[in-house]
């Protein structure tokens, strides 16, 4: 209780400094980030470690369990394909989709939200009504529809998944922009005649970066999950390629005979999702003090 009232001089504040300091104390987030790095390394290098190809069929080892001697470290699936390599492939594809779809969401979401918040008034109202409309629609089913209609084309997959993820981002950015608009430095910039794109780019966007980073990190697992659902139902990435979702689907079908087919890709998927969520939570604690 007897804290000394001596003043030790102003501590350097600043958003990023504080954020870094808070982040360092969030051990779960740090552990999760570390795990993600490990997984990424595994996904990148893994396939080179094993002699097998992801689509090679090994008739001598069908539904074989994990074993070091057989060369199939994670076992094989029902067609004799090596599960280790396929899991690595699944990781790569799932992560790629997550990252690319999120990048698309961020791009669309930030632009849309910043413009809406900046222009305000009727335009903002209209733009947000559109967002509300899209939000109320059963997004997954539309993605499904588009996946079906365009025959599971990989590019379409990326784009449609990302195209539905920008909504929340837009809302957040718009909210942040609106509150920024009332700050004096923005009013000053406008009064000085700084052009709109310049204001947006140099003043608004850097200041909304915080929440954007947080939600982008939290969007990645959502995108991965969305794609996993599609693959699980058979409408995602096409054979012989597979994402983690597709692998889980295969595993579920052979659960009794070969539980490792389900548990290993399922484990990876869960780990990736958990890790991204924990990192996102940590970032939120660090960058968004209101959330405490």
């Amino acid at each position: 209780m007897n804290a000394v009232a001596a003043v030790t001089g102003p501590v350097e504040r600043g958003l990023w400094r504080d954020a870094w300091r808070t982040l360092r104390t969030r051990r779960t987030a740090l552990a999760a980030a570390f795990t993600l790095l490990l997984i990424a390394a595994l996904a990148a290098l893994g396939p080179y470690l094993s002699p097998h190809r992801f689509d090679a069929l090994d008739y001598t080892h069908i539904l074989a369990g994990p074993a070091l001697e057989s060369g199939h470290w994670f076992g094989t699936d029902d067609l004799g394909r090596d599960l280790f390599v396929r899991s690595m492939l699944g990781l790569r594809i799932s992560l790629a989709i997550g990252l690319i779809a999120t990048a698309i969401s961020v791009l669309i979401g930030v632009s849309y939200g910043a413009v809406a918040g900046y222009l305000g008034g009727r335009v903002d109202e209209l733009m947000m009504r559109a967002v509300d409309l899209l939000f109320a629609m059963p997004q997954f089913f539309f993605v499904l529809l588009l996946a079906v209609v365009f025959d599971q084309n990989l590019i379409v997959l990326f784009v449609t998944i990302g195209a539905f993820g920008w909504l929340v981002m837009a809302r957040i950015v718009r909210g942040q922009t609106l509150s920024l608009m009332h700050r004096e430095f923005i009013e000053a910039a406008i009064a000085c005649g700084v052009s709109t794109p310049r204001i947006l780019a140099r003043h608004i966007v850097p200041n909304v970066l915080g929440p954007v980073i947080v939600y982008a990190t939290l969007t990645i697992p959502q995108m991965i999950l969305l794609e996993s659902l599609l693959s699980f139902l058979g409408l995602g990435v096409r054979e012989p390629l597979a994402s983690l979702g597709g692998l889980v689907a295969d595993g579920a079908a052979h659960m009794q005979a070969a539980p490792w087919m389900l548990l290993i890709p399922g484990g990876f998927l869960s780990l990736v999702l958990l890790a991204f969520n924990f990192v996102g939570d940590g970032l939120r604690d660090a960058l968004d003090p209101r959330e405490r």
Binding site: M1, N2, A3, V4, A5
Partner: protein, 326 residues
């Protein structure tokens, strides 16, 4: 004669991430039956916390020590059920912000009636008529309509009256009013103060008025205590305090109020400096930094509340006004 409310050696501390903060330090405070006592101080001086602590309404991270005797019971040590019986029935509390202090999803009628149902075991019809009566007593017209309305449908002044009504429902012995007029504009303030005066005339109500506005206590209270940095620094009958303040802080407070007959050129007299950081702890007088009469003695040794000759006033100062320097 035993006073109705007797608070002794009250300390209230809060545990915060930055360390422990002492909001109330060693406070003694009492109210006699039928008396009106004012408690004056800046925001953050701890005035509200005294009573929140006494009534068991502190925030989760608050710790209280000392005694708060009400009648024959020590509020700080009695069991929950006994405390619930006292709160609302024998002690009424009026909070400052009426918009957030009333439940937004319940009608006014419900919020008033439930006090009667819980404490008096009254049926809903009787409770309703009592509620109507109390609304009339606080001069809210058209009571029937108001009972069916929600807090957000009422004006600020009306909401404050509802809060007052709610505190009076069970004819309490003591009412504590925390900044009852702060959120209101001047004309409404005057009405509310007149209402309090009326209530005092009608019943033997004991009243505690907590405020940062010294003008409020002037027309209403019998006795006034002045708080600074968690401690009581002066206490006196209201007339004496206003005419001859002894503590330099009290003097500063009074001087800061602009007078109607001042010319527009007269500079406003503020008390220089800032109140101390509640997380900090100083050895000497908390007011020493800002005091024009401070000496080295003041900075080293904390002055205790000492009574003056007449026995009606106390002041905590080494160099009080109106006395020659020792």
């Amino acid at each position: 004669m035993q006073r109705l409310l007797e608070i002794a050696a009250l300390n209230v501390r809060f545990a915060t991430p930055e360390g422990e903060v002492a909001a109330v330090r060693d406070v003694d405070f009492g109210v006699g039956a039928g008396e009106c006592v004012g408690l004056v101080g800046e925001s953050g001086s701890g005035k509200s916390q005294i009573f929140l602590a006494a009534l068991g309404l502190l925030a989760r991270n608050g710790r209280v020590s000392g005694t708060a005797r009400f009648g024959d019971l020590d509020l700080l040590t009695c069991d929950r059920a006994a405390l619930d019986r006292i709160r609302g029935a024998r002690v009424g509390m009026i909070f400052q912000d009426s918009m957030t202090s009333l439940a937004p999803h319940l009608k006014i009628g419900e919020q008033l009636a439930e006090v009667l149902e819980v404490h008096g075991g009254l049926g809903s019809r009787v409770a309703r008529s009592r509620a109507l009566a109390i609304l009339e007593r606080v001069h809210i017209g058209d009571g029937a309509t108001r009972l069916a309305q929600y807090p957000h449908e009422l004006s600020g002044g009306m909401r404050q009256r509802v809060m007052i009504a709610s505190a009076l429902l069970c004819d309490p012995e003591l009412v504590i009013a925390d900044e009852p007029t702060t959120a209101l504009d001047v004309t409404i303030q005057a009405q509310i103060l007149e209402l309090f005066r009326e209530l005092r005339r009608e019943s033997r109500l004991s009243l505690v008025v907590i405020t940062h506005d010294i003008a409020v206590v002037a027309g209403l209270c019998d006795r006034v205590a002045v708080m600074y940095a968690g401690r009581i620094v002066e206490e006196a009958p209201v007339g004496a305090l206003l005419r001859t303040p002894r503590h330099p802080y009290t003097h500063g407070l009074l001087a800061a109020v602009p007078r109607l007959d001042d010319s527009t050129d007269t500079p406003m007299q503020a008390v220089p400096g800032q109140p101390p950081n509640p997380a900090a702890w100083e050895a000497g007088c908390s007011f020493a930094e800002r005091c024009t009469r401070a000496s080295e003695h003041c900075r080293r040794e904390r002055p205790e509340l000492t009574a003056d000759g007449s026995g009606t006033r106390t002041v905590a100062c080494h160099h009080p006004l109106g006395e020659t320097r020792a």
